[in-house]
Each structure stands twice: as C-alpha cells, then as structure tokens.
C-alpha cells in the first residue's frame, strides 16, 4: 500500500520535471497555473479542511502577495526570490492582523467576516491609485533574475526557467504544509475542526490555534499570489475580488477537503475541466457549477476522498 503511494508521488514528480521538455509554451504556462492554484488551494485548505473554517476572502491574501511582490520587484533592488518571499510574508502578516479579528467568529459568521475583509483588500487595490495603480493595477513588473549561491544571477526570462522556480517554490510550500499538518500542531487543528468544545477540554486554547492556522494559511496563499506577479508582469485588482476566492474552494472540493493531496489533485482537475469544457463551449462556469452541485450533494470527499474510501480498498484487495 505504501508502495502505491510512492509510485504516485514519483510519477507525479517525474511528470512535473518533464513538462518543459515538451517545449510548448502553452503547456508550460498551464502547468504554472496549476502549480500556483495547487499551492493557493493547499493554503486555503489548511483553514477549511484542517481547521474547519470556510474563508471566502482568501483572494485578499493571494492578491496581497501578488501586489507586494510586484511592488518589491518594481521599486526595490530586491531579487526575484526575496521579492516573492517578501510578498508572502506581507500576506502572512496581513493574515495575522485580519485573522486576529476573524477567528472571533465561526461558521457562517466567519465566512461573512472573511468575505468582508477580502473585499476590503479589493476595494483598497481598486481605489488606492497612488500605490496600486487603481483599476489598471501594477504594470510592467520585471521578472528579474534569480540569485543562486555559486551560480550568481540566473536569468528567468525563459518561461521554462521560471517554471522550475515555481515548481521548486510550490514543492517547498507543500513540504512545509505536509510537515505542519502531520505535527502536533496539525493534530490540534484537526481536533478543533472535529470538535471545538472537546478540544478546549483537551486543554487547547482554541482561538490562538485558529489564528496561527489563519496566518500560515494567508502566508501560503500569498506565496502562491506572489509567484503570479513576475509571471504575468502585471497585477490587477480582479485577483482580489471575491469570485477569485472561489477558485481554491472549487479545487479543494474537487480533490477532497479531508485529504492532504486533495487540493493539488483538485487544482489539476480544475484546469483540465476548464480546458475540456472550453473546447466544447465557452460556458465553462456552467460546467463548474454542475460539478460543484454534484460534489456537494453526493461526493463531499472529493476525488481523492473517494479514492481513499472506495478505490484504494478495492485495489488493496485485488493486489494482496
């Protein structure tokens, strides 16, 4: 059984490393999109799947990371990697401040509160022209070069080069989340999700843990956003709009909220479905709506959840 898991991860790693070999800009670009959404959804799911809090304002942190990274690249001499990290740290700090307020509420009130704060970020991005460029957004963000010890400045102009950077950062981000959710801290978060009252009776200061999860989740979401600024060379306020917050929600539900790899698998499916539907019709939102309906009504565990509950036991029986 363990072997099966390793085969999966190894195959995924090899495939991911090989994508630039296709030489197709389209595939590389799509792969970057998938990776960014995967990381965004992983960050989101730290809060939703692991802590039990549905945020409808995570686009705010994604955008905060993107704007901050963009501004650092445009206005400071910081290198590419430092700017991306800086963007993520800014989003994390913002998350700590906003989270301080949001974790005072739970359930639907939490969802509404995150929605309000997320839209505040949007409003600020839209209206604070002198810093954010208003509705045009930041334009002309340089991608810069990557400083590597021993190698010096590595040019990132080629899309494939930037792809490997995104892949490395995403892998690192996912690695961090993996360690965190399997740590005592992660166990406590799951306990809070399962039964808040019981967790308090296990000696857990519930609110403080929720805040920590919120900040970390914002940091990861910001990291995902920060990678987009140098990719697109521009950031517009729409990345902060609440409808953007729906993307990680959909990806997570598609893949499975109570599984570790669910959001990543979901991010891949998200773009595959979108590509597939777009070839048939321009109305891909309709397709997503129907998929979401089916997921909520019948498959709340998502694809990975379904695999773990039904397919894996079947495979296990077959091969043992």
């Amino acid at each position: 059984m363990l072997a099966l898991r390793w085969i999966f991860w190894l195959t995924a790693a090899v495939l991911l490393l090989c994508i630039p070999l296709t030489g197709e800009r389209f595939y590389i670009y799509l792969a970057i999109q998938v990776l960014v959404l995967a990381l965004f959804a992983m960050g989101f799911n730290l809060l939703f799947g692991y802590t039990g809090l549905l945020s409808f304002g995570h686009a705010g942190f994604y955008a905060a990371g993107a704007y901050a990274a963009g501004l650092l690249l445009m206005r400071t001499p910081l290198s590419l990697l430092s700017s991306i990290l800086g963007g993520a740290l800014f989003a994390g700090a913002l998350g700590a401040v906003i989270g301080f307020f949001c974790v005072r509420r739970t359930r639907i009130y939490f969802a509404m509160l995150t929605l309000a704060f997320g839209m505040m970020v949007y409003a600020l991005a839209f209206d604070w022209r002198s810093v954010t460029g208003g509705d045009d957004g930041l334009i002309g963000i340089p991608r810069g070069a990557l400083w590597l010890p021993g190698l010096g400045a590595v040019k990132m102009d080629a899309l494939w080069a930037y792809y490997y950077l995104v892949l490395a950062i995403t892998a690192a981000g996912v690695g961090v989340i993996h360690r965190v959710v399997h740590s005592p801290f992660g166990l406590v978060l799951q306990g809070i999700r399962e039964n808040e009252n019981r967790a308090a009776f296990a000696g857990v200061p519930v609110r403080r843990y929720r805040l920590a999860a919120f900040a970390l989740s914002s940091f990861i979401s910001g990291l995902a956003g920060a990678m987009v600024a140098p990719l697109e060379n521009t950031v517009a306020p729409t990345v902060a709009h609440w409808t953007k917050s729906a993307a990680p929600v959909l990806a997570t539900l598609l893949g499975g909220i109570h599984t570790f790899s669910g959001p990543m698998v979901g991010a891949l499916l998200f773009y595959l479905i979108q590509e597939f539907i777009e070839r048939l019709t321009e109305y891909w939102l309709l397709g997503f709506g129907l998929v979401l309906l089916i997921l909520v009504l019948g498959f709340r565990g998502g694809v990975v959840g379904y695999y773990e509950a039904h397919l894996r036991p079947a495979l296990w029986r077959r091969f043992s």
Binding site: R104, I108, F117, M119, M120, Y122, T243, L253
Partner: protein
C-alpha cells in the same frame, strides 16, 4: 452644498430601495430556513433578464413584464429548494453556502448563454418617465417611484408576517420546526413556499431595475455582496434590520461616491466587518 447633500441623499435612497428588495428575500430565507443563499443575487439578475425579455423581446407592457418575470424566478427558486437545498439542511453550513454558490456559476453562464454577455436595458414606462427638479437638478420620476415603493413592500411584508395566518405559521416554524410539525404543519412544503416567496422578492427587485440600471451577467456578483453587507448590518434574519441596513448602505455609497471616492468601496465592507465583530446580531437584533 446643502442641495448637493440632499440630492445625493435621494440618489442614495433609491439605491437603498433596490438593495432592500434583494436583501429582504435573502433575509427572509435565512430567518426561516437558516440557509444563507449565495445565489440570491442571481435570482435578482434572473428577474431582471426575464422581465427585460418580456418587455423588449415579447413586446409586453412594462407592468406585465414586472408581474411575469418575478413569478418565473419564484418557480426557479422553488425548484432549487425542492431538489437541491432541501438535501443540505442537515449538514454543515459551509456546504449550504457552497451549494448555493454553485447556482451563481450556473445562473451566470445560463444568462450569458441565453441573453449574451452585453449590457441590456429597457425603456422607462411612460407614466413614470421624465424628471422633476429637486433643488434645481432634475431627479428621475422613476427613482421617486422606487423610493416610494420600498417602504410599501416593507409594510406589506410586515403585515404578511405579523397579521396573516401564513405569516404566523412561518414565524412558528422558524422558531421551532419540530413543534410546528407536531401540530400538523407540513414544514417541508412551507419551506419551499417561503423560498419561492423570497426568490420572488429578489426577482421583483431585479425587474424593477431594468429601466434605470444596466442588466448584465456580472450584476449578480455585485449585488449579492451588497445584499450580504445589508443583511449582516441589519442582523442576519432580521427584516427590520435589513430595511434600515439598506438605507445605511445606500446613503454610504451615494455620499462616499462624492465625498470620499477613495474609500467608497471599502467603507461598506468596513461597516460589515465592524458589525460582525462588535454586534454579530446586527444593528437591530437582540442577542
């Protein structure tokens, strides 16, 4: 200066009354069924498009369109409740929110598919055309009509809920579903009816807007957030709160537009967050 203030106030009030019509249905449905319907803005949009079609495409009279569109919206709402939302009453609220969110996506594309992505509008009905001067500036008669209609709808709702047996049944079932069932109320059917009625209200809001507000596929996304802000500020499930919350948000938007354009958008969300933090029961709710 004072004239400007008053004129913007009137603009704000007419904004507010549209908001109130959306928020009223949202609030009623949440108050009785306990479901926060993310797709309520889409029902508002659907009301606008259906009435627009009745007027522009079928060539019906504006008032006939106003009657027909919302009725079809009510039907759509009824189907939504009967076949989908009913199945998630017993599960986590997060999934209720997500289920209704699915309908935003579906309605958004359906509308684009049927009516196309471009902006639409319909002519102001003859009797309400033109403008009358207010402090020397022309103010559309239709907006005055809307300003007058909002409180009337509020009064009607109050009467329906407080004074009719249907309203009493709703209040009883909202407070205690089990005991309502135990005296013979068919609660599932009642809930479908309430959902339809709430949807109808949203549809009326949309239909009323077609002469003066652009009808576009993006309107659902904007309206639902404003309606959420209104509902939260008034206290989720509180109709009286939603009425005054609408006025507050309408005025904030109208004055913000003129006096503090930098914060115009943000102010509504700041208000919403502040209420959720300080008075989650809303301005008019009792804890």
């Amino acid at each position: 200066m004072l004239e400007q203030l008053f004129y913007q106030g009137m603009i704000g009030l007419s904004l507010a009354m549209f908001l109130w019509l959306v928020a009223a249905g949202l609030t009623l449905i949440f108050g009785v069924l306990g479901v926060l319907n993310f797709a309520h803005g889409s029902l508002y949009m659907l009301g606008a498009y259906l009435s627009y079609s009745a007027v522009r495409i079928l060539g019906l009279d504006f008032w006939v369109g106003l009657a027909v569109g919302p009725l079809l919206v009510a039907l759509a709402g009824g189907l939504m409740e009967r076949f989908f939302i009913r199945r998630v009453y017993h599960i986590d609220e997060a999934y209720q929110l997500l289920l209704t969110f699915a309908f935003i996506l579906i309605f958004a594309d359906l509308v684009k598919w049927v009516w196309g992505p471009i902006y639409q509008s319909a002519p102001v009905p003859g009797a309400l055309g033109g403008a009358i001067p207010i402090f020397g500036r022309p103010f559309p008669v239709y907006n005055l009509f809307v300003i007058a209609l909002g409180p009337l709808v509020g009064l009607g709702l109050w009467f329906l809920l407080e004074k009719s047996w249907w309203g009493r049944t709703i209040r009883a079932a909202a407070a205690d579903r089990e005991m309502a069932a135990a005296i013979g109320v068919d609660v599932p059917r009642l809930f479908t009816a309430v959902f339809m009625f709430g949807s109808w209200l949203g549809g009326v809001g949309g239909a009323l807007g077609i002469p003066i507000r652009t009808v576009s596929p993006g309107m659902a996304e904007d309206y639902i957030i404003q309606a959420f802000a209104v509902a939260v500020i008034g206290g989720l499930g509180n109709l009286k709160g939603a009425f005054f919350g609408s006025i507050l948000i309408g005025l904030v938007n109208a004055y913000g537009h003129v006096y503090a354009p930098v914060f115009e958008l943000a102010f509504m969300y700041i208000l919403m967050a502040a209420i959720l933090l300080v008075r989650p029961q809303g301005l008019f709710g009792t804890s």
